[in-house]
Amino acid sequence: MTPSTAPLITARGLEKAYGRTDALRGASLTLGAGEILAVTGASGSGKSTLLHCLAGIVTPDSGSVRYDGKQVENLSEAQRTELRRTDFGILFQFGQLIPELSAMDNVALPLLLAGVRRAAAHQQAADWLGKFGVYGQARLRPGEMSGGQAQRVSLARALVTGPKVVFADEPTGALDTLTGEQVMTTLVQSARESGCAVVLITHDAQVAAYADREVVLRDGVVKADEPWAAEHFSRAEVRGND
């Protein structure tokens, strides 16, 4: 394996309980740089908790998440917030755009928080909105857009800072099939172009089929990582030699 194919994220033995409910019971997985990984499983199998642990939103009760040489659970809250702002993009089922802000301001916000000047932030936001076919909605607020438009704005907001990983939790869950297809195609093309990795949580096999690889969570444990490991690494080597 060449150095460029070393995992970007390695999670080992993640456990997390909410009260008496075990959400994760020793989940382990790896994510390669630029890899698109689908995490599937039944409702309540721990998919969202796993995503929250990987993205440093939630601290696991035990186990570790190593991202780009850093142990995420050892970082301070401020350091994790910084990591989410600089290296991670997050996309939810319902975009979670800020309802009072226009599409343009929603997309520019992560740049403004990172200290980019207003004019430059708006220029970059406009570029991403144009790339995703929603520049015409730049002045609209989330409530004035269709579900598909709002989700493309959310996707622009997740990608505008040039993250190394996008965490997408059921990104097409609230969309019809054709609109969902447009969002997935846009997400995958953008990730491929920028070399950004994607963790894609979904219960929909047709959405999971956009990924390079699938892991199945069952009762808080990753069940189906192994069969794809060989294929994953051979693909990663091909990419590394480009």
Partner: protein, 182 residues
């Protein structure tokens, strides 16, 4: 699939010869089994015999002689009838996956070395691999309409299999228990 009606449909674009019809069929139905030349010629002869198509003429164009066929009025009526006819919604379940799972549950309950859960997991892996191929095919830049439609069709059917397999995996313990108690 009714090859005679598909060929009649392709002839609506204008007179054509067997080789051209075969080529256009394979373009329009990219995920289907390619048509054999022999089948094309046999079907065309039957269409002519039944008055649904007729020979328009022949040309050689520097190579072997080719017969051109065109649809007749009777052919147009037959095509319209077929297009309006409802296909029976799958009256019987005759699928290999279904049969294997049922037999694996019976065999496992009888103490034979069968593992329906392992089979379902392996089958899911194979289905997902095919679904990734089809998704790549239909989302590739410049994918044509025929490819997108046929990939969508195949993806929806594989997805339906997967849903059934997931539900069945969840029911396995209860199903095996039921058989053991009979």
């Amino acid at each position: 699939m009714s090859t005679r009606h598909v060929l009649l449909g392709l002839l609506t674009a204008g007179p054509s010869h067997g080789y051209d019809l075969k080529r256009r069929h394979d373009e329009r139905f990219p995920q289907a089994r390619p048509l054999a030349y022999g089948q094309v010629y046999t079907t065309l002869q039957r269409l002519v015999r039944d008055g649904l198509a007729e020979v328009e003429g022949t040309d050689a164009d520097g190579g072997p002689e080719r017969t051109h066929y065109r649809s007749t009025d009777k052919g147009s009526v037959e095509l319209a009838h077929w297009l309006g006819e409802i296909a029976p919604p799958a009256p019987f379940v005759t699928n290999d996956i279904f049969a294997k799972v049922v037999v694996a549950i019976l065999a496992e309950a009888a103490g034979e070395p069968a593992d329906p859960a392992a089979y379902l997991r392996a089958q899911r892996t194979a289905h997902m691999a095919r679904m990734r191929e089809l998704t790549a095919l239909k989302t590739a830049p410049g994918a044509d309409l025929a490819t997108v439609l046929s990939a969508d069709y195949a993806l929806s059917h594989l997805d339906a299999d997967l849903r059934w397999m997931t539900t069945t995996a969840g029911r396995l313990a209860a199903l095996t228990e039921e058989i053991r108690n009979v």
